[in-house]
Amino acid sequence: MLPALQAIGIVKTYDSLVANDRIDFEVRKGELHALLGENGAGKSTLLNVLYGVLKPDAGTIYVNGKKARITSTRDAILKYKIGKVSQYSDLVPSFTVGENILYGEIPVKHGLFIDRARINRTVNELNRTTGFKLNATAIVEDLSVGEQQHIELTKLLYQDAEIIFLDEPSSLLAPQEVKKLFGLLKGLIRKGRSIIFVTHKLEEALDCDRITVLRAGRVTLTEERKEVSKDILLKAMFEEKIAISRRTARPEGKKLDSILEVRNLITGSGDRRGNLKKVSFTVNRGEIMGIAGIAGNGQKDILDVLTGFLRPRAGKILLKGTDITASLSPYRLRINNLLAYIPEGRRTIGSFLKLPISENMIMGVGRMSRFYPHGLRDATAIRQFSLSLIEEYGVKAAGPNARASSLSGGNLQKMIVARELSLDTDLLIVAQPTHGLDFKTAEFVHTRLIEEAEKGRGILLISKDLDEVMKLSDRIAIVYEGELRELSPREVNLDTISRLMVGLEKDD
């Protein structure tokens, strides 16, 4: 039988980053197919290509054996009957369930009034096919995330979708809801629908019929469920052979001088996956402390607390032995030059895109007295400083007066790295420093970070790129569901790390 959906040789690149590298992917009719991979493996890109959001640079897509040109999401659903349930609900929160499902085709009676009876009938009919128990008159915003997913699925079935993508559907669901979802999905595939379940969780992939694993933009495995084990999947998901880092192999027994100490940090009310549950760790002088983990497991809270954006509920933060928990604020940290911080959001918080590069280079109020002595601008000093950083870091820019928005992603990141590394602080916090950068720029940033550590700074590195953490860090900790687990040197191997990252204890 012809596959319901088949993609051959899909290539998609951003600047010099290859997000999808000659991907072959196939879904059979009536199959529940898992698309597995860690963050940045290329899952979302592939999904967006197949769903008509992105145009691939190369490759062919076949739907039911016929060559397909999917140029928009409208095309996807109307012409090819491909639908998607996105990570975050696309429903209108203030409308009823029925109105959302029949959105755009609301039945009208007497040319004026909404035909509620018909809406209810339609929803009930759909309930019979799906096995869901949706109440057509309930308001969407009163319903749980799980029920909202049911609505989205029903809506797709109403639109007659035959191939359905679910993008990380479990990320906002409680475990029992996930179980329920799988039951319902199995019902749907028995009725001949094809479902692609996008996830980074092993167990969920193992509940599907067939599994395709992506790593770094390539397919590393496509196999029937019965043919694979957890270990095979882990191997396919993460690099088989990660070079043991030069740094992790450093001799031990050196006297440690702690720069940052975090003790029993708790944030939020603990009900979110990303809230911290008693996190403790130390960053020492001259070392890079790496925190790895799949995004959304508490990285954001750690960063926000340490940079003064979020007040912790409990816990202590010591900087060079002084308790600074009470006085953590971006202003205090910056004015006293206690912190340099390369943030993840290089466009959102890391830079003033609308302002010239020079104004971006002098960011950080601790520098104001240097560039604005007595409050007055020293234009020459600012210009020279910007020019020297642009040159030293090889930022490709028209000049210090060009707007930051004119820089490419890599050059913008170089600008931020240049700015933060030029601050004279003992502590440096770095988040996703090379995300989306090409190989050469990433390599450059890595070298600079190692140099800074060797100069005696303490660096906290938080990254979802496991290779990066393993390459740079002296010590490694894994964050999973708000808890931090530091690895002993013996445990620094791919097997242990990849298990901890997906929440499996070592000998599970």
């Binding site: 918080i349 830079s351 604005y372 028209a398």
Partner: protein
């Protein structure tokens, strides 16, 4: 190569698109004049004569430019901070009230000192009034567009209340205060016209605001907060403080507009101290692209159009609404100008590159 020409290309595109916008305004307005049954030539002639035709006309234009410039400068400061202060009009009214109180009831000061005191009062009251809206923003995250807009009504009626029940003498028919003391009068700078010292102060303020925004750390912080609040906070700028300061300065400058009307034009407080100068300034400041020096030029143009319109109405019997349309067209096409600028720039850049390669 591209670097060398890019500056010229930008300048050319700016001038070109400005002229284009003016031309379009001219054509559209001419059509509307004809539809309304008037002769465009006569109307344009009237506008120019009314606005610039005699020393007296020029003086009239200048006294309209003054308050628009003060309010525009205030808006430059708050808009660049990302605070959409729509409350200049109200801040102007309260500034006028404060200046009038000092100018009428505080005798015994030498001339210059008295004027400075009245200015300080107007700045302080206007600034605190706007600062209140800033506080609502920083403390409760209340949308400043709404709070400043509504604060206009409170301010205008508040100043009318004080005028009616406290400043207006018992024997007066109309709601107006006593004359201000002679020591508080702003001097006339051009004999035989109404051109008073307040306009000079406004122009000086334009340079002060330019200096503040361009050359001081406060200006940097204001631009930073306006460009990206989150990034500003990340860099350690105390965003709330900057918002409060910028709103205070913004309201203070609008307050000075009221001061100029009382001390320089009317010499007493009247009920309708401003024919919407505070709102006209919003348009002016966008046309000036939030540049304080540009605001001088645009305020003068706006003053000229308003004054020319008055002349059309009084002398030639042409309804002043026609001039309101001209102001509106002016604003619309000036705001569309950046689009034309971009296109012209792209076209020029392409051409430069071609010739460069050949």
């Amino acid at each position: 190569m591209v670097n060398d020409t890019s500056g010229q290309v930008t300048a050319l595109a700016q001038i070109g698109s400005f002229l284009l916008a003016m031309l379009v305004v001219f054509i559209v307005f001419s059509i509307l004049i004809v539809i309304s049954g008037f002769n465009p030539v006569v109307v344009y002639q009237g506008l120019i004569v009314g606005a610039l035709g005699s020393p007296d006309a020029l003086g009239q234009t200048f006294i309209r430019m003054g308050p628009i410039l003060f309010c525009s400068l205030g808006l430059v400061v708050s808009f660049r901070c990302g605070m959409w202060n729509i409350g200049s009009e109200g801040q102007l009214f309260l500034g006028a009230l404060a200046a009038a109180v000092v100018a009428i009831y505080l005798p015994g000061f030498p001339k210059v000192i008295h004027i400075i005191l009245a200015m300080a009062a107007a700045f302080l009251v206007g600034g605190i009034w706007a600062g209140l809206c800033g506080f609502l923003k920083t403390r409760f995250n209340a949308n400043e567009v709404i709070t400043t807009l509504l604060s206009n009504f409170i301010a205008i009626w508040l100043s009318f209340y004080f005028l009616k029940y406290h400043l207006q003498p018992k024997w007066a028919f109309n709601p107006s205060s006593l004359q201000i003391l002679p020591t508080a009068r702003l001097p006339i700078l051009m004999k035989g016209t109404l051109f008073h010292g307040g306009i000079l102060i406004a122009v000086i303020c334009a340079f002060i605001v330019w200096f503040m925004m361009k050359k001081t750390s406060l200006g940097y912080s204001i631009d930073a907060v306006g460009a990206n609040k989150q990034a500003a906070e990340y860099s350690g700028i105390r965003v709330n403080r900057i918002i409060l300061i910028s709103m205070f300065i913004s309201g203070g400058l609008a307050g000075l507009a009221g001061m100029g009307e009382v001390l320089g034009v009317h010499h007493l407080l009247i009920r309708n101290i401003s024919p919407h100068y505070g709102f006209i300034a919003i348009a002016a400041v966008f046309i000036a692209r939030l540049n304080p020096i540009g605001a001088i030029v645009v305020s003068f143009l706006m003053g000229a159009i308003l004054n020319g319109g008055r002349y059309l109405q009084i002398i030639m019997g042409i309804p002043t609404h026609l001039v309101d349309i001209l102001v509106a067209l002016f604003v619309i096409f000036m705001l569309l100008q950046p689009i034309a600028e971009k296109k012209i720039k792209a076209a020029l850049a392409a051409r430069f590159q071609k010739t460069g390669e050949v």
